[in-house]
Amino acid sequence: MKQHIESDLGSDLLDGASVASNSGSEASQPETREAVEECVEASAPIADPGSRRSLLVRSGLAALGGFGALNWSARASAAPAAVSSGQHTLVILYLRGGCDGLSIVAPRLAGGGADVFYETQRLSPNNVQLAIAAPGQPNGGSPLKDPAGVDIPWMLAPAAASALSMYDSGALAFIHGCGSPVLQNGSHFFSQDYMEDGTQISTSVASDGRGWAGRAMGLGVSSSLLRGFGWGKFLQRTLFGAPKTVAVPDPTNYNLGGVSASEALRRLAIEYLYNVSDEPLRSTAANSLATLAEINAAGIFTKPTTASYPNTPFGTQLMRLQQLIQASADPNIALNLETVMLDYGDWDNHISLGAQSTTSGGGMFYRVQDVFTAIAAFHQDLQTHAPTANYTFVAMTEFGRRITANGDDGVDHGRGSLMWVFGPPGTVHGRNVYTMLPVAGGGQGTTPGWNGLQAHSELQDGAPNSYNVISNIDYRRVVGEIVQKRLMLTGSQISTSVFPNYPYGSAPQFAALDLLV
């Protein structure tokens, strides 16, 4: 079991090494150990009715988390080891802009040959071929097999080739034809809001303001001071309402600034400024101060990395993230990250898709290459340096792109798209591309299978001769299974709290896909 280490503001002051590292002039600073210990001693009488502790006791906040938990309750309750060294970390990657799944995992004929419908539709009016070429062709995709080694009618785009070994090892699974069941107005922003919120915004169920991960994390229990973060300048809607979770633009550079000698005193002043302020700002401030302590713990960003990441912002993010996950698995570091969310934008390829090669003129190739090269390195680093680290990585986007190319050699907003899931070896039922057969009459089937892209396509409203991938796997089936098996929530909790009004698991079309072991 991982021993939780005090790393809040008070304990940071107790940590001589930490203080020394923050100040080059500690010798001239007051010794505050006794004062802090006096302050945080749970059994001490409340001598000063205006003190922070008395305030928290009066207000009951100590029991409710926030600043109370930050500085008092964790020690007072002598919380046992919060989690095991196998702390699971859920990594959510959101590809914003509507990512074209057909440029990552593309259809072909099993056994060889091209999917003619795909290639016909992807030939632009300017005679630019946007489709990934069939295996064996110049810039052709890599043929994919199923767990039994049987050829399947899919290929991995050349830009994603770095992930082929992950796929072949069974650590990676793709799901095609994913999407949201509502809000078909083609809006990025409504679609993202819907997916991230997880309730039917503006329809029958009002949002409670939290995201699906926020609700899911809220159902769990943890004494960690920092349970998750959204990597970026904004907290993603998915994480709204998540306990002990904040936005962190750069975890390697998270500090208060100013004169280092006075930082601890200023942190305490800020804490006092905010601990009687109104919610939700109060909790956000508390979480930010907790993050300040946790994320700056020694030993996190010195964790080893030997894999080769692309020299890009995303590559750097994943390199740092695997260090954070290694630290979460390290019993000597007080970090237990449950959820981290990343964003990757610029997938709105209305012009010049350019997915086939470095010379095909557009940005899709480079972005896909960046993502999958980084992912492969991330996976390799964790296998090499922290084989017991426990994580699940899921990628999603708000919708796919039109199958049919437009006159700008791009593809407009579509419907069904691609999700993918991976984790350490043996945790994912990978080496497969999950799909659902459309059933006559417009219903949904439950038998995985594929009989060509045309059979899985539908006409776009208002755009004759323009086709979309059918969206017939609700993203909540994928996410629901992850929440169920990794955050250990029940099906009932998922259908009533995480995704209200979604009958998760109640019928085959709402059931988990059995992606995870």
Binding site: S51, R52, L55, F234, G257, G258, H350, G407, G462
Partner: protein
């Protein structure tokens, strides 16, 4: 040895420090602090101050209607603006800011002299490679951003800058899309600014021909036989009516997919001029790109009349859209969210929409005394990071020459530099999205008030943005006690809205930090008290 740079060698102090003579000393700042309060260590050291005990009432204090109005019509309170509002009274002040200054604002002239190229066309930008004219598009973008910051902080036409802030976000164009700096520059100055306080329909009509957005959303190459839908979709969804009525009880969508397709078709040929001429980069029509139609086609329930080789089809789409009641209601809701509250009531939307497209009348309706006085603290707006920065700099009366790349870099770090939201929906107009920036604001506060480097004289943490010890001391003078320093900071920076808890924390911090065993230098402590004031929760709301 105390490491404070500013405390190592105090500069000459202005003479207006009241009873404490001409130098800020430790004794000065300790005056009036409770005996022994500062020497008790962390456990019990936060004393009861002149403002009461730490942990006292800490929620938002209700604010006067005039202070609220001053904040809502500007990019932040200043003492002089509040004094003007007090003199004129609520309605007269509101009318005066809608009308704007009678002459060209002095600050606008200053900014123009600093950055003449802000008004340049893309062609002029290409031709003029002077030192004042950045040739790198990103440098030009920074210059335009700095001009925005300078006008936000200094312009006497306060409501114009407030509305420019709104339109820059609600008509969002990503300035960092390759080569877009020159186009965005032109758009901001020539297309949006002239109408930001005028006719909304005129603004939107002109914006439909704005090449910065036509390029940004890929319409410049949209052509037959399969038009690119990007611009057409966002024109309807984000820039005008929105997909749904602001009143959630209205379930009928404002448009359907077929309307997007029709608009995309009508907008084929709306592109930019790439010929080397003064019109370079500006709007033109290219009939070779047009998806022609032989029969009328439906759009928003009306029929678009085919018009070969002309802009007429697109103009019909623009006209039907910008003159619709749906757009009036959509824009009214955006305006209310920007100026008044995040959750417009249906009645407020209806009232403002009835005055569309007259921006002045809409603003007067939205910011009526009745609407302002009905706001509770829970409905106060939460500053975006840029608003937070401008608000601080306005209160500090920052010189425009200070506001350049150092400030823009800080705004970028906080995720809120002008024209840098990559998606067309613009920076969020909702508090939840910005809550997470509170840590970044604390960093900004510390960076802003960092003492200048003794060798270079510059602010090492926010280059260019320098406040000397003497300037800061003058801002809080005269004072007689630590408590009065806090009072002066509160009035100077916020208009006197800090809670008792906030004031007592800042006072106690000053008392403790200046005293043994910490004994930080007086100027360091003063700077940190400034930083704590703008870090306080109350400063984040307006």
């Amino acid at each position: 040895m105390n490491p404070s740079v500013s405390g190592a060698k105090p500069p000459p102090i202005l003479a207006n420090t009241g009873a404490f003579g001409s130098e800020l000393t430790r004794r000065t700042l300790l005056k009036g602090v409770g005996t022994g309060a500062a020497a008790l260590g962390f456990g019990a050291l936060w004393p009861t101050t002149a403002y009461g005990a730490i942990g006292g009432p800490g929620g938002l204090v209700p604010r006067s209607n005039l202070l609220m109005l001053v904040n809502r019509v500007s990019q932040g309170y200043t003492a002089s603006e509040l004094a003007r509002a007090t003199t004129l009274g609520y309605s007269a002040y509101l009318n005066s800011v809608i009308a704007g200054p009678a002459t060209t604002p002095r600050a606008d002239t200053v900014v123009s002299s600093l950055q003449p190229f802000v008004s340049y066309t893309p062609w002029a930008y290409l031709l003029t490679g002077t030192p004042q004219m950045p040739v790198n598009p990103d440098d030009l973008l920074i210059a335009v951003q700095a001009a925005t910051a300078r006008l936000s902080v200094r312009s006497e036409h306060v409501l114009l800058e407030r509305m420019m802030d709104m339109w820059s976000n609600r008509l969002s164009v990503y300035g960092r899309k390759a080569g877009n700096g020159a186009l965005k520059n032109y758009s901001d100055y020539h297309i949006i600014r002239p109408h930001a306080l005028g006719s909304v329909s005129r603004l939107l009509t002109n914006f439909a021909r704005d090449t910065s957005v036509l390029y940004y959303l890929d319409n410049v190459g949209s052509s037959a036989p399969v038009p690119n839908e990007n611009w057409a979709r966002e024109f309807l969804e984000l820039y005008t009516m929105g997909p749904n009525d602001p009143d959630p009880s209205v379930t009928e969508p404002n448009y359907v997919e077929a309307d997007v397709q029709a608009a995309a078709k009508a907008f084929t040929g709306w592109t930019w001029d790439m010929a080397p001429s003064p019109n370079f980069g500006l709007f033109t029509y290219d009939s070779a790109l047009q998806l022609t139609s032989s029969a009328p086609y439906a759009f928003l329930g009306s029929m678009i009349t085919p018009a070969s080789a002309s802009t007429l089809e697109g103009e019909q789409v623009v006209g039907l859209t910008v003159n619709s009641s749906q757009t009036a209601r959509g824009i009214a809701a955006k305006m209310i969210r920007h100026l008044l509250r995040y959750d417009p009531t249906p009645a407020q939307v209806t009232a403002a929409a009835a005055l569309y497209p007259n921006t002045g009348l809409m603003v007067a309706s939205i910011l009526s005394q009745a609407n302002i006085s009905a706001l509770t603290p829970a409905q106060y707006l939460f500053s975006s990071p840029s608003r937070f920065a401008y608000q601080a700099l306005r209160a500090l009366d920052a010189d425009p020459s200070l506001l350049a790349q150092g400030l823009i870099d800080e705004l970028r770090r906080m995720g809120n530099a002008p024209f840098e939201w990559p998606a067309p929906d613009g920076y969020p107009d909702e508090a939840e999205k910005w809550l997470g920036s509170v840590f970044g604001r604390w960093q900004f506060a510390n960076n802003l008030f960092t003492a200048p480097d003794p060798v270079t004289g510059d602010n090492p943490n926010m280059p260019g943005v320098v406040f000397t010890d003497a300037q800061l001391l003058a801002m809080v003078s005269p004072f007689t006690t630590m408590a009065s320093v806090v009072t002066n900071l509160d009035v100077l920076l916020t208009g006197g809205i800090l809670s008792d808890n906030e004031k007592s924390v800042i006072e106690a911090y000053g008392a403790i930090a200046i005293s043994p065993p910490y004994s930080y230098s007086p100027y360091q402590v003063l700077r940190e008290m400034f930083a704590l004031t703008i870090s306080a929760p109350s400063f984040q709301y307006y």
